[in-house]
Symmetry: C2
Subunit: 209 residues, 2 copies
């Protein structure tokens, strides 16, 4: 099974690395970081370089597509090459997935029309604008389309997907291997539980506001 | 404030990227990925390249040291250059931290002698062998030494550290920004909650068994 994780300039690293850390541990998979060009892509903070090992064109028909989000997503919403690749890859994929604002790219490619999907909490209205039916859940499955909420939700999405692909026992082995027994020191991880001031601060800084 | 995350051949990506995603969002920080040499380091699966932007020698006195773990840690336990760098950096650091088996490298450098610390659940006995006092908690603080359990625990460690560095409100903003409201689809993330068979399977595959 071939898994392609798309990387691009100014992606959010954890969007990609959460799913990578889970899915790369599945048995009999070939996981590949793909980009418009081979080589280094800088993440949104400018502080990290990730390598795209293959071009999109070199990996035309992966079984699993993973599209991370991040500020760089905005510049790709009309990127003909990426959108064409997403449509073509989706035509034969077993699973088409995203983390955070990666779902906006799937939506821009027309793949989420009328489908239930999610994204970062700050981008939910944007997802509706591109034809999807936004759902405020951590992981949303609609047939082969599996979308995750913001950034860290890619870990939960990938464990869910690992269970679908390889069964619950394998997914649980992976969870134990990465010791994913989260204990956040605060309860501020959702707009429903964070302070109103924190929600307002991030809204005011959002590229979607 | 300067933050150095050490990368090396065959590290586990999420060990480094979890803390990166949190700590890079602190105000007024310069976060740098450092390695023995500049350039690409392959992660433990061989499927991802991360870039070290600077050499260890170029970043001799960071305020925060973050040492991730992974299979490549074993080969570094007697690496004179790295251990000397860790000792020197620790002499002036405000915080010396690790994720997963990164704490074994801190211990090998003599920095955890008699200190409370943690590591991946499979490596707890190893940590004791190198002079630390192992504690089976997700995040362990002993003065300026902050160590995390396996892989994904680096996110919890970094949020804890962010609170210490910049206060609870800033840490909570970061948590909300990365939507860290974990919902693991299984409860298998700890040897205390996973099946006995899963624990045994991973023990049998461990490089520490």
């Amino acid at each position: 099974m071939q898994i392609a994780i798309v990387v691009y300039d100014r992606l959010t690293a954890l969007d990609a690395i959460g799913p990578y850390e889970v899915l790369s541990r599945l048995p009999d998979v070939e996981l590949i970081f793909v980009g418009a060009a081979k080589g280094e892509q800088r993440t949104d903070t400018g502080r990290l370089g990730l390598i795209a090992d293959r071009t999109l064109a070199e990996v035309p028909a992966p079984d699993v597509v993973v599209v991370p989000g991040g500020p760089g997503q905005t510049a790709l919403m009309e990127d003909a090459e990426l959108l064409a690749w997403l449509r073509a890859a989706d035509a034969t994929s077993a699973w088409t997935t995203s983390v955070c604002t990666g779902s906006l790219l799937l939506a821009a490619a027309g793949l989420l029309d009328g489908r239930r999907a999610t994204t970062h909490w700050l981008a939910v209205d944007e997802l509706a604008r591109f034809g999807a039916t936004p759902v405020r859940e951590r992981v949303v499955e609609d047939g082969k389309y599996v979308t995750a909420a913001g950034v860290s939700a890619g870990i939960d999405m990938a464990l869910t997907l690992a269970g679908r692909i390889a069964g619950d026992e394998v997914a649980q082995l992976i969870q134990l291997g990465i010791e994913y027994d989260p204990r956040p020191p605060y309860g501020a991880g959702s707009p429903a539980t964070a302070s109103a001031q924190a929600v307002e601060t991030l809204r005011s800084l959002s590229r979607f506001s």
